[in-house]
């Protein structure tokens, strides 16, 4: 069966929501989606229709419902209650906090015994104290490094939590895996990118972020996945001027490209407000 009538991109929204487009049409529609608020509105509505069709599915089966055993199994698989992030940070800080009295608690009684016993033992203890001092200096150094790392994370956290930050989720064809989150401060013209469940790009290749400004792609940073499939890029500059309507990710040569050379892998609209 041949298609003699090409659909206008906006007319693909209904079939896209149903997952009924062919791969070439999916790419065409997703590229259009990145630039068209109207297409995004259409798609959001058709996704609701798709959900509602599910609600109206097979009344008999729906009224029977899943078993009690399944309910118990699913609820048991849910995440357990997590403490707020601040508590985690405090706990980690407590774990690396200095404890200067601890070595001395063991050293002082020994020192008293040594003074009463012999000068040799005193000298030995002095040696021990020097060793303890070196150990403490080493711990101070490690503590300083950890404190610096924590301060960097605090700084990153503060920039992510400042007023006016908007968070966008870039998705791949409606599939949540892999994902990229973009934290955008339009007031400061900066963004932070967090990618997860991302496969490493092939050798010599990298992922590249694009901002769609006035309907045209503007190249931004390149990045790749770490061992855990994650990437975190801070302090990304937003393109100045114009209207930024979307962000997208493509795979490009490792040095990046001036224009996208492959299809969009992930995309998200960046509405102005």
């Amino acid at each position: 069966m041949t298609d003699t009538h090409r659909s206008a991109p906006i007319d693909l929204a209904a079939a896209y929501a149903l997952g009924a487009l062919d791969p070439a049409e999916v790419k065409e529609f997703e590229a259009f989606l990145a630039t068209s608020p109207e297409a995004r509105r259409e798609l959001a509505e058709f996704r609701e229709v798709v959900a509602l069709i599910g609600l109206g599915t097979d009344a008999k089966a729906a009224l029977a419902g899943p078993s009690a055993a399944l309910r118990a199994r699913v609820l048991a698989s849910a995440p357990s209650l997590q403490p707020p992030a601040g508590d985690d940070l405090a706990a980690r800080r407590a774990a690396v906090a200095p404890r200067p009295r601890r070595p001395l608690r063991g050293a002082l009684p020994l020192l008293g015994a040594a003074l009463a016993a012999s000068l040799l033992l005193v000298l030995n203890l002095r040696g021990d104290r020097q060793q303890l001092r070196r150990t403490l200096l080493g711990r101070d150094s490690a503590l300083a490094a950890q404190t610096t790392a924590l301060e960097a994370r605090d700084s990153m956290l503060a920039s992510l939590l400042e007023p006016g930050i908007a968070v966008y989720q870039l998705t791949a064809s409606g599939n949540p895996v892999p994902g990229v989150q973009l934290f955008v401060s339009r007031a400061r013209g900066r963004a932070v990118l967090h990618a997860f469940r991302l496969q490493s790009a092939p050798a010599g290749r990298a992922y590249q972020l694009w901002f769609i400004r006035d309907g045209k792609p503007v190249p931004s940073v390149t990045f790749n996945a770490g061992a855990a499939g994650e990437a975190l890029i801070a302090d990304i500059a937003l393109p100045p001027g114009g209207t930024i309507s979307a962000a997208a990710v493509t795979e490009e040569p490792a040095g990046g490209s001036a224009q996208p050379t492959t299809a969009i892998i992930l995309v998200a609209p960046l509405p102005a407000s």
Binding site: M1, L18, A20, F46, V49, L55, A64, R73, L75, A78
Partner: protein, 198 residues
């Protein structure tokens, strides 16, 4: 109807609390939508045991993705049904046998699937029943050819090209049927979904 919209408006908050592991929110989300997820799964995979597996996988993915759920991009119902359809269609594609059990037989299964409903809020069941009736009514008034095209895409995961091959009609005709059918459903069901903010 107002109660329904109010319930849906609170879904984003429920998902956020479920993501933090709040037991009540987790149970609330499951009890509200498991019947729907199960119904979609039943219709696609056609067997009770497989449908339950799809429900388990759907919620397992929902717990993982809940921290990133964005209520401005669609309702929790749309989110969960999208996951469920994807999982169910994957299960069908992975299955080698073709002798599907008629969906109606699922409801007559021997292992008392209805027991799980004892934990659901009766008000949720009333809302669900009302909504199902509205959706069925909307589907029933569609021209049969449009309903057929949409159902082949929805429940069998066929693309428009594959539908055209299956029913031996031109691709352009299938595309028109899908779009017109979806437009009619959107118009008749709009009062029943939570408008996604742009």
């Amino acid at each position: 109807m107002t109660d329904l919209l109010r319930a849906e408006s609170a879904d984003g908050d429920v998902v956020a609390r479920a993501a933090l592991g709040e037991e009540r929110a987790v149970a609330q989300l499951y009890d509200r939508y498991a019947p729907v997820v199960y119904a979609v799964a039943c219709r696609i995979v056609a067997e009770h045991a497989d449908a339950e597996e799809v429900v388990a996988e759907t919620f397992a993915q929902a717990w993982r993705d809940a921290p990133r759920f964005d209520p401005t991009r669609g309702s929790a119902a749309a989110w969960l049904v999208t996951i469920a359809r994807s999982r169910a269609l994957d299960a069908v594609r992975a299955r080698t046998r073709r002798d599907r059990v008629a969906p109606a037989a699922v409801a007559r299964g021997d292992d008392a699937p209805g027991m799980g409903r004892t934990d659901s809020d009766p008000a949720d069941l009333v809302d669900l029943g009302e909504r199902q009736k509205r959706v069925r009514d909307a589907l029933e008034v569609l021209p049969p050819s449009q309903r057929q095209a949409i159902e082949l895409a929805y429940y069998e995961g066929l693309s428009q090209s594959e539908i055209a091959e299956r029913i031996r009609e031109p691709l352009g005709t299938v595309k028109t049927r899908v779009r017109l059918g979806m437009l009619k459903l959107r118009d008749s069901l709009r009062p029943y979904f939570l408008e996604a903010a742009e």
